[in-house]
């Protein structure tokens, strides 16, 4: 019952709290890597005709910035909270499949390392430069990504890395669906679930439905590049637009995979710091579900410039405008939650309110893309870059930071410093607006995305310099946060069980929680158990020894097989594919037959 320590205990852990921490720190490192890539991009664009990086490196930087931020930073940061918080919120001892959960993490880590190795292995491919990093954009449009136009292994690293990461996402999706549906404490009906757990469930359904589509699209690309098929090749009767359809059929649900968890976080933070229940809980939940459904019917708004014809354009334009309705409903519910509340402006609330404000700006520019004539002017310009950064940085990143400040005391036992937190928030909010707001104008004035430099005649030089200053302000904000984290380890205020006076079950136990979570599984009678019935759900002393599952090596061993198989394709080494497959199968068999009690 005491928590084991040491390296082995981390490598073999199946505890959702530890896996959550592993996810958090790994994803946070990738977040910094993606941030450094962004700073290099902004340094290059600070002045016209600049030569800090060459065009080829620039292509790699924007491709890896997008890919890293989406697949290696924001998604896994959300998953870190799924892991740490969801079992606590629903009153469970762990997730439904603890070893599958460990497998998800190791596959994610190895997939991220695999893709980033491409920065350093150029000499192995006689590339004439250090890096063979992916360079076709995070959306990897065919036919640019076909072997004919991308000869080196760059795109192979990208498509194989994404395949590996897809395995992790799928496994995680199944795990959290079953955990939330099946492991709820007695009395925790679906409509009593905390909204964050609800959004985790909705996101998990999106994961398991959207990832098969990108998997197949990537398999087609892999076959085209390596085995001579013609899926995206016009010369043999194929069609590169098929890639766009399949990619965005995945890609738009992916947008909601990125934003719904952050919406879940602020739906927890706002009620806690307003001292009143979430306004219109059911409507917020149903809006989340509706957004997920409608997210499947809007993908072609990414493709207006392809020329799909007036009917397709009209349909996708309408569905895109419609999806703003459930989103707007949520925003009004959040504002109404604050209305008349006993508001405490602690750092988590600042980030949550920042989320609402920034997401509204991003949402409004998003609605402008919904109109095909306007979109044709905006496509491939910095206007779109401004939009995605307002929703993904102003939305997802601010939402995730709200979650970090909110749940940090639960995860570590200590509160992050409030003063530093507020400095972090304001620097970040000002920094992101300085960085991203000018991009609207830069784009409308005609500066294209993904081009490594621009002419002074375009008249966007000053605004680009301003934008770069903003990017570095964000970097300073991140340094403040990192300093806060380091400081908190030793000097942080001890949190206690429920420092924010939260209402949900994760606050019913010590911080950090004991390895078994709940000494006795509580019985829940309301949506806000700690406000309405604290005496019945507060942690009690264990009545006897509590069984905690042992660790297992096999999820990690099985995970090692995947990057080996991917590496085999790049190295053209069939034997390596067999070695990878053998390790994967061996790991799965050992895993299947080891004695393991949940």
């Amino acid at each position: 019952m005491t928590e084991p320590t040491g390296l082995k205990s981390w490598l073999t852990t199946v505890d959702h709290k530890r896996i959550g921490k592993l996810y958090f720190w790994t994803a946070f490192c990738f977040f910094l890597v993606g941030g450094i890539e962004a700073l290099l991009i902004r340094s290059q664009l600070a002045q016209p005709n600049s030569h800090i990086v060459d065009a080829q490196t620039y292509n790699e930087l924007f491709t890896m910035h997008g890919t890293t931020m989406i697949f290696l930073a924001l998604m896994p940061l959300s998953v870190a909270f799924f892991n740490f918080i969801v079992p606590l919120q629903i009153g469970a001892r762990d997730v439904a499949f603890p070893r599958l959960n460990a497998f998800s993490y190791w596959v994610f880590l190895l997939g991220g390392i695999f893709m980033n190795l491409s920065w350093f292995v150029g000499p192995l491919f006689h590339a004439g430069r250090l890096s063979v990093a992916p360079n076709g954009g995070w959306f990897g449009y065919a036919n640019l990504t076909e072997r004919q136009y991308s000869i080196g292994p760059n795109i192979d690293f990208w498509l194989l890395g994404l395949q590996i990461l897809g395995v992790s996402s799928l496994a995680g999706g199944f795990n959290f669906i079953i955990t939330i549906l099946n492991l709820r404490a007695p009395g925790m009906k679906m409509m009593r679930l905390p909204v964050f757990s609800w959004m985790t469930l909705v996101t998990s359904f999106l994961l398991i439905t959207a990832f098969p589509v990108i998997t197949v699209a990537l398999v087609f690309l892999m076959f085209d590049r390596n085995f001579g098929t013609h899926f995206y090749q016009v010369s043999a009767g194929g069609d590169p637009v098929l890639w766009q359809h399949l990619f965005w059929l995945f890609g738009h649900p992916e947008v909601y995979i990125l934003i719904l968890p952050a919406m879940g976080v602020i739906s927890e933070v706002l009620p806690t710091f307003s001292g009143k229940p979430l306004f219109g809980y059911t409507v917020v939940v149903y809006s989340g579900i509706l957004i997920a459904f409608m997210g499947w019917g809007v993908w072609s708004h990414h493709m207006f410039s392809v020329g799909l014809g007036p009917i397709a354009d009209a349909v996708f334009s309408s569905t895109t405008m419609l999806i703003a309705i459930p989103t707007g409903v949520k925003i009004f519910n959040w504002i109404a939650t604050l209305w008349g509340g006993q508001i405490r402006f602690d750092t988590p609330l600042l980030f949550a309110v920042g989320f609402i404000a920034m997401f509204i700006i991003g949402g409004l520019s998003g609605v402008t893309h919904a109109s095909p004539p306007a979109d044709l002017q905006q496509t491939d310009t910095y206007y779109v870059v401004a939009h995605i950064h307002y929703v993904l940085f102003g939305g997802t990143v601010l939402g995730l930071f709200a979650g970090m400040y909110y749940w940090w005391p639960k995860m570590t036992g200590r509160l992050l410093n409030e003063t530093l937190g507020k400095i972090h928030f304001w620097l970040m909010l000002i920094g992101m607006n300085v960085a991203f707001f000018p991009m609207h104008f830069i784009g409308l004035l005609g500066m294209p995305r993904r081009v490594y430099t621009y002419s002074p005649d375009l008249g966007v030089s000053t605004m680009n310099l301003v934008s770069t200053v903003g990017a570095f302000l964000i970097a300073v904000a991140m340094l403040v946060f990192i300093w806060n984290v380091i400081r908190t380890r030793t000097a942080g205020k001890v949190a206690g069980d429920n420092p924010w006076h939260g209402a949900t079950l994760e606050w019913a136990m010590s911080s950090p929680p004991p390895v078994y979570n709940f000494a006795q599984i509580p019985t829940v009678h309301s949506r806000l158990p700690l406000w309405n019935e604290p005496e019945s759900v507060m942690q009690k002393a264990p009545t006897g020894p509590i069984h905690v599952p042992d660790g297992s090596w096999w999820p990690m061993v099985a995970a090692v097989g995947l990057p080996l198989m991917a590496g085999a394709l790049i190295a053209h080494a069939l034997w390596l594919a067999f070695v990878g497959a053998a390790i994967l199968i061996f790991g799965i068999f050992k895993w299947g037959f080891e004695p393991f009690e949940v």
Partner: protein
């Protein structure tokens, strides 16, 4: 197995359903999207080949009907295997598990023969859009059958070792879910690719 331990420890699930079985249904839902994408792509590129061999020139419906019949029968044997395990009749369980695996192997053998026959007649992955979409679609399905065969043989070995009993019926039931799903997908592929040319 963890399920048995789970049940014996008296844990109740919220939905009253076995977690592994639910996860497997979610997995099947996810797989539906995978095959839907593959089949849609096949349909989109139907008739887009610039040169032959074209489907009507090369597909052998009587032969594939036999493979299809064999795979359908193996689903029946899978049902019988599960029924035998559930009543703890391990003698027949071994027979039907092995029968199902052999059914899968016969199907795979048919596919190997069909693929090599096509290649001899000039239809390769690279030849035209039909080859490109046909081999990737049916090959993906074949890989699923191969995983199922490996799984069934594993269960058979466990049964021979005496480690598979009625307590593990859920494991066999989930294997069956997978096997039937792969079978249903084949019915769709057979209809779309072979019957509706």
């Amino acid at each position: 197995m963890s399920h048995a331990a789970h049940a014996e420890a008296g844990h109740q699930t919220s939905m009253g359903l076995d977690s592994r079985k639910m996860a497997f249904w979610a997995f099947i839902g996810s797989e539906c999207l995978l095959f839907a994408t593959l089949i849609s792509t096949y349909l989109i590129y139907k008739g887009k080949s610039l040169e032959g061999p074209f489907p009507h020139e090369i597909l052998n419906i009587p032969f594939t009907s036999f493979s299809t019949f064999d795979l359908l029968m193996s689903s029946l044997w899978m049902v019988l295997a599960l029924a035998a395990v559930q009543r703890n009749d391990m003698k027949w369980a071994k027979v039907w598990l092995m029968g199902t695996a052999i059914g899968g192997l016969i199907f795979l053998g048919g596919q190997v023969w069909e693929f090599s026959h096509f290649v001899e007649h000039g239809l390769t992955l690279q030849k035209n859009m039909f080859g490109t979409t046909f081999f990737v679609l049916t090959g993906t399905h074949g890989a699923h059958v191969a995983v199922g065969v490996l799984w069934l043989l594993t269960l058979w070995v466990r049964a021979m070792q005496g480690k598979l009993t009625a307590k593990n019926a859920m494991t066999v039931e989930i294997t069956g879910l997978y096997w039937h799903f792969v079978d249903v997908i084949w019915i769709i592929i057979f209809t779309v690719v072979y019957l509706i040319q």
